[in-house]
């Protein structure tokens, strides 16, 4: 008797669990659904009352017409350019630095590492103004240098910390065996270490992609020339121009959101591993 009621209550808990998670899921997905619904809908239907759930018929003129108003293709290419340059720079310099901080012995290494680590806690607001003044002194405003150069100089403490965690899990015997065989340190890094931390590389690449794709403050501060705009800046100007044309705006939002959603869905495992690695051991 007792086991049966126990089983029954277990089943009830399960049902409750899935119900709550499922309802949450609907709420969480609703904004996404609403962008798509609005983006594919005729203007009259968008404002219909009570609201229509499904566009009848779905149209694509919000995309074909709306996205002609500003050069969104150009904004796309600009953003992709920035993302790629940052990606290569970050992947190269952060893996190299974290290799040094985790596996090479040199005086003062741990002290310097922990100092660099503190910048993870530093609000970006503190450095914003002087960095801007510095860039304007070297005519860096309205170029991509302010957005990309930092990536070629370590890419930030977060990535160095994340990668160091991964390097530390590799047994020292690998380095020693390679040294005995006469390999140089760069060869060890390039041929042995990088292939072994491949999951971490993918995590870093994905974070880097998402961060740069989404970045708003830096492009806002450094880019005034519309030709140089990123997708986020383009979206902002578009919003200023077509404040109430919701169909156009949701079409623009869709194309800004789509790449990160696709990338994240494909590689979510790596982003999640990265968050966990930094959150738990940090």
């Amino acid at each position: 008797m007792k086991t049966r009621s126990h089983k029954f209550s277990k089943l009830m808990v399960k049902i409750l669990l899935y119900t709550v998670l499922g309802c949450g899921l609907l709420v969480w997905m609703f904004p996404f659904y609403w962008i798509l619904r609005t983006a594919f809908m005729k203007y009259e239907q968008i404002l219909a009352y009570p609201p229509l759930w499904i566009p009848k018929p779905p149209i694509i003129t919000n995309f074909t017409e709306g996205l002609k108003i500003l050069p969104f293709g150009r904004f796309y290419i600009n953003t992709i350019f920035i993302v790629v340059v940052c990606l290569i720079g970050t992947l190269f310099t952060s893996t190299l630095a974290s290799y040094s901080f985790s596996r090479l012995r040199w005086p003062g290494r741990d002290k310097i590492f922990s100092i660099i680590l503190t910048s993870m806690m530093l609000p970006s607001a503190v450095t914003l103004v002087p960095t801007f003044i510095g860039w304007s002194k070297v005519n860096g405003v309205n170029t991509y240098y302010p957005l990309t150069v930092p990536s070629w100089l370590g890419g930030g403490a977060f990535f160095i910390f994340l990668l160091r965690q991964f390097y530390l899990t590799i047994p020292r015997e690998y380095d020693e065996a390679a040294l005995v065989d006469g390999a140089g340190f760069f060869t060890i890094y390039w041929r042995i270490m990088l292939p072994m931390i491949r999951p971490a590389l993918i995590s870093v690449a994905m974070f880097c992609f998402v961060n740069n794709w989404n970045d708003f403050m830096m492009p806002l501060v450094y880019l005034n020339d519309e030709k140089l705009y990123t997708i986020s800046l383009g979206l902002r100007s578009f919003m200023g121009m077509y404040n109430t044309d919701w169909g156009y705006m949701m079409a623009a939002a869709t194309i800004a959101v789509l790449p990160v959603v696709i990338i994240f869905t494909i590689g979510q495992r790596y982003i999640i591993e990265g968050v966990v690695m930094v959150g738990i051991k940090g």
Binding site: W34, L96, P123, S124, A125, P150, F185, G279
Partner: protein
């Protein structure tokens, strides 16, 4: 005793070590330490970005705390926002993570959905929220009406703008959720089994195992949540421009306007340093308090 070869190898290792770390060290010097020092110095000047700067002593700081009504307002609304958003984010993401940590099918899928909003550009989500919460034609007000609630102006009313932004933020707290989820999954099963052996119930498991074992991730999320709270910018810039009546004029938005709209670089640096000092103080307080309630495995509870 080292042989010559070993000394040579050690020396070589040190040289390569410094060489490989050099870009990162340089980046830290140029983009963190340098600007921080510069920011500190500028905060005592009336620098406008061009031309000369005059040393004005503490007058920027004095002005901030005495005659500038905007700063006091920004400080207040930022702190109000933080006091609403941080507990809300922690409670909701703790709850979702707890559900996801149960033995369920399709955990990967649920996790994907709950984390997804976090990777979406804030400019885009701001536009989406503006649309959903539009006072006249937004869908949320329609459903409020169906529930016999009066329509709300949400982001365009002094009373509701901060709570609304805090609730909007919950949608993008996937990082907190993941940290909690990892925390839940890291709790050793034996601890629960031990309670079962002693005849404990679900409640005992929760109070004596789950809660203490989760305090490190709770602490981590609290500290990062507070720090991020001071960084809120994009939503306010895009949707409300700091309004209505400066009610969402967060510190960072004020800093941005002082620096890049009004050209008061020195003044903006003073604001930046106040944000920095407050962050440091809050972090230190948290670390001090953490001795009292955070449980670390292998350590004694004080």
């Amino acid at each position: 005793m080292y042989t010559t070869l070993e000394v040579f190898k050690k020396d070589k290792e040190a040289r390569y070590g410094v060489l490989f770390a050099l870009p990162a060290i340089l980046g830290f010097a140029v983009f963190t330490i340098g600007p921080m020092i510069a920011s500190f110095i500028f905060s005592f000047t009336n620098y406008s970005g061009v031309g000369n700067r005059e040393f004005v002593g503490l007058s920027n700081y004095i002005k901030l705390f005495t005659t500038d009504p905007l700063f006091k307002n920004s400080l207040k609304v930022t702190l109000i926002y933080i006091s609403m958003s941080v507990p809300l984010n922690i409670i909701v993401s703790f709850f979702i993570a707890f559900l996801l940590s149960q033995n369920i099918k399709g955990r990967g899928f649920f996790r994907l959905v709950y984390y997804l909003p976090t990777v979406v550009p804030l400019v885009a989500t701001s536009i989406i929220w503006k649309w959903l919460l539009d006072p006249a034609v937004g869908v949320v007000n329609y459903y409020r009406m169906l529930l016999n609630l009066p329509p709300s102006k949400f982001l365009f009313d002094e009373k509701t703008v901060l709570p609304t932004m805090a609730v909007m933020g919950v949608w993008q707290t996937g990082t907190m959720m993941l940290t909690f989820l990892a925390g839940f999954q890291g709790i050793p099963r034996q601890l629960y089994e031990a309670i079962e052996v002693d005849g404990g119930m679900g409640y005992h498991k929760f109070m004596y195992v789950t809660v203490p074992m989760m305090t490190p991730s709770l602490f981590f999320n609290l500290v990062t949540g507070l720090i991020n709270g001071f960084q809120v910018f994009t939503q306010a810039y895009i949707i409300t421009s700091g309004g209505p009546n400066n009610r969402s004029n967060f510190l960072l938005l004020l800093l941005y306007n002082e620096a890049f709209v009004k050209g008061k670089m020195g003044y903006a640096c003073a604001i930046a340093w106040i944000i920095f000092i407050m962050t440091v103080i809050l972090t230190i307080i948290n670390f001090k308090l953490s001795n009292k309630w955070v449980f670390y495995e292998g350590g004694e509870r004080k």
